[in-house]
Symmetry: C2
Subunit: 110 residues, 2 copies
């Protein structure tokens, strides 16, 4: 049906997959990398930098904002988007619990 059955999974599992989904598009990866690199940004820069149309970038920014990885302050006609470093660290904490599962002494069975 194309609809993820969120209700049968734990909150942690949904949280992890939601974070991962935000990283699941190269444009959003590129946006985040660029924001880290220049440490301050307006949307126009990104349109040139990334190479997608302005509405498309705006849409990706909206998703990143929704999940809390970036925040935007209005600055005249433009908006200063930047990384929400506090949330970024929180996000990494959630992910690391999942990613570091292999740091147990168990060996492979096959």
């Amino acid at each position: 049906m194309g609809l993820t059955k969120t209700e049968i999974f734990s909150e942690q599992q949904n949280q992890i997959s939601n974070i991962a989904k935000a990283f699941g598009h190269p444009a959003r990866v590129a946006i985040l990398q660029h924001l880290f690199k220049i440490n301050s940004c307006i949307c126009g820069d990104l349109v040139e930098e990334i190479g997608l149309a302005q509405p498309t970038i705006s849409q990706h920014l909206k998703e990143l904002k929704k999940i809390g990885l970036i925040k935007g302050n209005i600055e005249g006609t433009s908006i200063c988007y930047c990384i929400d470093r506090e949330n970024w660290v929180k996000m990494k904490t959630v992910l690391s619990v999942f990613l570091d599962q292999d740091l147990n002494e168990k060996a492979n069975c096959c």
Copy 2:
């Protein structure tokens, strides 16, 4: 158009987003967690464990296998799926370059 413009992004950016996409569904997160937990598995277990239909689980397993995070050995009528720990570590290395971008001395601009 619904088609991601892969060609305008770097190989690293596409690699990161592809890994993230694999984690971008709670069922796949749950499957990986379960595989780590019991350290050996067959698909039937997962159908009960996760609560989705057998074809759906099979499809998710296929995607995880495609990206190399799990591997399956034929064992009689069943298949022993397990984590590909070598690739898991490689995957973490790729991701950490991206996730640890914030470990620079820069402050927030806004």
